[in-house]
Structure formats: C-alpha cells, structure tokens
Subunit: 338 residues, 2 copies
C-alpha cells in the first residue's frame, strides 16, 4: 500500500483545453490480488492523442470518462508483485496513466512489458524506443515504404516521432526535410538530428508561402510525408508532392480544438495519384518487435539521440500537456515522478 | 485518302468550358507510310478527364495544345492498312481523337487493339468493356479490395464507370449504394443496374444533409467508396466511413473549372484510419487483360447492361461534352460518327 496521487479528467474542454479541465486527487493503492503487480512510475509520457480523448465525440478511441484517471504511457519499477513473471525491481513499461502508482493485471496481454536499461535510459522507452518510435517506423516502413534517394518530409520534426522518423529515413538513404516551429528547433533538427534541412513554419503566414520554402528545400519534389500536425503543413506539402507520393497521417493536432480544418486541394490526390493513409500504431502490434529492435539499436549505438522536455512532479503534468499542444515542448514531453 | 473533319482546341476556358473553346476544321487524310493504319471511327468517347487537358496548369497529363485535335478514345474500322497485323475490316479500339479518321502507327505499343464484336456491341469497347470498365475494376479490386458483406458506395453511379462498379461489386457479394443526380437516374441505378439503393444528391443542399441520407442507406457505415466527382459527395461519404475504409479517387469533376474544392474534414482520415488513393487506369496496363475478360463476360452474359447517351455526328461533340460536365448525360456518353 502506498499513497497515490492521480490526475483525473474533471470536465470536457470547450474549445481549447484548460488547466481547469483536470483535477488532482489522492488515495491509497489497494492491496494486491493474485496475479496483480504494483508499479511505481518513474516517468509519464504526454502525447497529443490525449487531447482527443478529452472530447465526447467520435474518435478512434472511447472518450475518457469524467472522473477517471487520465490515460498515459508510463515506465517504472515493480515494487510488489503477486505474479510469477514480475518481481520487485523489474523495470516495466505500461499504460499506467497520470498517477504515481498503478496496479496492473500481470496476465493482461501487453499490459506490462519488461525492458532492459543497460543500453537505453529508462525514459527512452516512452519515446524513441517506445510508442513514438514505433509510430515513426510504421508510417515510414509500412505506408511510405521509401526507396533510397527519395525525398521525405515530416512535420513536428524535433519531437519524439519526428526525430525517430528522421534517423530511420536517413538510414534508408533518403533526403529528409523537417518542418518545425522556431529557429532553435530547426537548428537542432539539422545539427543534432542530422536532417538535410528544416523549415520553420512560423516564418510562413499561409500554406502557399510554406510550399515555396518546401520547393527550395525539396528541389526534386516530395515522395513521402509523415504528418503529425495537419492543416497548413499538409496543404503545403501536397502542393509539392510528386506523382505516386505517399502520406502517412498520424496526427491532426490543429484540429483537436474543434476548429474547422479543411484540406485545400484534395484534387491533388488524383492529379498526383497520391496515397494518403491514417493509422494508429497500437493497432499494429505485429510490427513492434521488429521496430523496437531497430530503434533500440539506433539509440544504443548513438545514431539516434532523442531530446526530452521533462516536467517535474505529477502536479506539473496539466501545464506541460497544454504546452505540448501549443508546441512549447522540445523533443519528447515527459513528466518525472520520482 | 478521305475527307476528315476534326475538332481542335481553339482557346483555353476561363472558368467553365464553352462551345467557343472548340473549332471544327477539315482536311484530307495523308497517304499511309509503311506500318501505318487508316481507321474510320464509328464512335468517339467523351469523358470528364478531357476537361483537365483543356487547362494549362499542372495535371497528371500534358495539357492539350491549342490547335491540336482534342484527345479521345475511339472505336472503328480499319479502312486501309500498311501494317501486317491489321487488315481492312478489322474492328479496332484506340485513341483516335475528336475526328472521323485517324492514321495510327501500328507498331506503337497499345495504340490499336483489335476487338471482337460477336458478343459485345462495338460501342461498349469505349465503355463497360473499355477504359471506364477497367477504371471501375481497378478501383474496386486493387484499391478498395472489398470483402463480401461490406458496404460500398459510388458517385456518378449511372455513368459508365459507376454502372460497371456496381455490377463488379454485386458479383463480389457487397451491398452497393449509388449516388446520382435526379430521380430518373436513381431509378435506373436500382431497377436496371441492380444496386441496393441510390441517393439523389440533387435533393440535398449540402454534405451534411447528404450524409444523413447515406446513414439511412448504409446502416452499417461505408467500407469502400469509388469517387468520380469529389466535393460534397466525398465530404458526405467521409462522414459515414467506417474504420479502415478505403476510397479510390478517379474523378474530381467539380474542381475542373478551377473553383476551390476543399475537403471539409480530413481529420477523419486519421480518426477512421482511412486510405484514400488516386489513380489513373492507363498507368496500370498490367490489369487490363484480367479486367476486360471479366467485364466482357458480364456484358456478354447480360449481368451488366450499360446504358449509353449517343450524340449524332462530330459537330455535336462539343455540346455533348459540355452536357457531360454538367451531368446531363445518362450512362456512357458517346458520339456516333457514321
């Protein structure tokens, strides 16, 4: 038994999410039943998809119930176990939610995954060697399926998904151009992540202007694009897309607040015989082992050095999350809980 | 040598295409060189893609040059041949253009295809057993790839592509719902083509209203859609699309006049993990034999009885074409030249 703090959804956002949509509560963890495991979380992952769960309308997942602990990926340490597969001291990744501790059914498929921290720091299992990394891998390998020499672009390039995408694409011999917000992020994308170029979308008032910058950065056009954002970036990329180009759609952050977000020129789908495909990585568990192996090797070998923004303590999670939605984070957004 | 009338592009449209964009000219056919074939056209096919060629801007094909004979599919009879593969009296399909005669290089890959008119009337080689039929087949089989029991929709359902799509989809055990303009076309789609239902888009002021009608006609949602039109129909279909649904994009007729044609809710691509893919059937010649065999058997066996709108004489082509762009045709639009 341990004292546990939790952040629950207190109300649904009207338009932009606010700190007042969240409430912190505390309780004691229950005593374990047979088969259960008590995990103390070291890190909580904050991700854009959580914003979608706060709404009541149809999305790819059930809405988060009011009063329920916010959903979220966690990495931590087993402190007590009544399951033979897990023992105190194991490092485990799971979906523990916005709280300090979780009680997990050790028999539930994929609920807890033991990881090794000798080569890869614990926190990276929520980023490059976790869901964001596998997300980049799936979109690149299974949807874009690039050939060496092709030009690829990715929005939110400095983030957890974007940085993994860049490393994976460079390893396949592609030219990779990032799109990010602000000079500091763009410098990081080129100098530290090794992208060929990076465009600061904040320097562009509209998608026409952004597409002119893309034309300079992608003189042979764009063969594949990984979309984390939607809106102006997607419109601009489409204007520079080559025949038979592929767009993997993983995020539409600009639309989460309910603002209308049209695609300006869908006729390009026909004109350029494009393929645009949305996906959610948790529906493709069959690729995780292969993807995690490549990503773990890249992080362990230093070819991928992901950056993290770390907020301290559970109470800092709502503000860090709202900042993430506005692009204030720099790299993978985490909350350190211990 | 024969007297030949030709319709050439005289000027590019500003907005809507007009009869004045075309000009009729006449000349004698040249004497044949070795390897050439002189074909007298019986039927000319009119198709929406021709509108795109009249513009000067980037599309999937080169713009039509001013003063050049308008591009178009034709079926006709060889009247003179200096190529060993062809002899006078052969029925041949080709891209002869808007004219009475064409001189064709018999050695050019795919320029002329001999066809058999014992089972299939000559004109159907421009429709159900030609490019429109193969277009339906490719979108259905290669992009939508339906399972029996799935619900599929198609816009311009009474047209050459739509009617073939319906027959091919019913043969695969799918529920097929058409979208067409006007009660007469909708009745035809259900009663003669055998679709399960057909919605008259003209009864709906916007895509929200149309999507409500789709909800009634597709109580299990939409698993696959074949898009011939774009705009309001595509927006409405997307609102009813199921998880993992597929949209084959073959036409965006509403955008050809240069009017802005946004997609209202591209976020559905992610929410429903959709795949949207544009294609041009002439880039997939590898499927033609298999597709034509199935389509020929369906027409020969009476499972597919395509309807035709036939304009009489070359001079009627521009008006028939402008009518086609406004949906005035009923079934495959042809011009009879003999």
């Amino acid at each position: 038994m341990a004292q546990n703090f939790q952040i629950v959804l207190d109300s649904r956002p009207q338009g932009e999410a606010q700190a007042s949509n969240f409430k912190i509560v505390n309780c004691d963890t229950p005593s374990l039943q047979d088969g259960q495991v008590l995990v103390r979380h070291h890190f909580l992952s904050l991700d854009p998809y959580m914003r979608g769960r706060m709404n009541d309308n149809k999305s790819y997942a059930q809405p988060q119930a009011i009063g329920e602990v916010m959903i979220g990926g966690t990495v931590g340490e087993v402190v007590e176990s009544r399951h033979p597969k897990f023992k105190a001291g194991d490092t485990v990744v799971g979906m523990g939610g916005w709280q300090n501790y979780s009680v997990v059914d050790g028999n539930a498929m994929g609920a807890l995954r033991k990881v090794n921290t000798t080569q890869v720091p614990m926190s990276h299992y929520l980023g490059a060697v976790g869901m964001p990394g596998v997300t980049a891998w799936y979109g690149l390998v299974k949807i874009i399926a690039p050939k060496a020499g092709e030009t690829l672009t990715v929005s939110a390039a400095s983030g957890a998904v974007g940085s993994a995408f860049g490393a994976l694409a460079k390893a396949r011999g592609c030219r990779v151009v990032g799109i990010a917000g602000g000079k500091e992020k763009c410098d990081y994308v080129v100098k530290e992540l090794g992208f060929d170029e990076c465009i600061d979308y904040k320097e562009h008032a509209d998608y026409i202007s952004l597409s002119k910058a893309l034309k300079l950065a992608c003189p042979k056009g764009i063969d594949g694009h990984f979309e984390n954002v939607g809106g102006m970036v997607l419109d601009a990329v489409m204007l520079r897309s080559n025949a038979f180009s592929r767009i993997a759609v993983c995020g539409m952050i600009a639309g989460y607040n309910g603002a209308p977000l049209p695609m300006h020129t869908p006729s390009l789908i026909l004109i350029n015989r494009m393929k645009i495909e949305g996906f959610i990585v948790s529906e493709h568990m069959e690729v995780w082992p292969e993807a995690l192996q490549e990503l773990g090797a890249m992080v362990g070998g230093g070819q991928l050095r992901p950056r993290e923004s770390v907020a301290m303590g559970l109470a800092a999670a709502p503000e860090a999350f709202l900042g993430l939605l506005k692009g204030k984070n720099f790299g993978k957004q985490l909350v350190k809980l211990i």
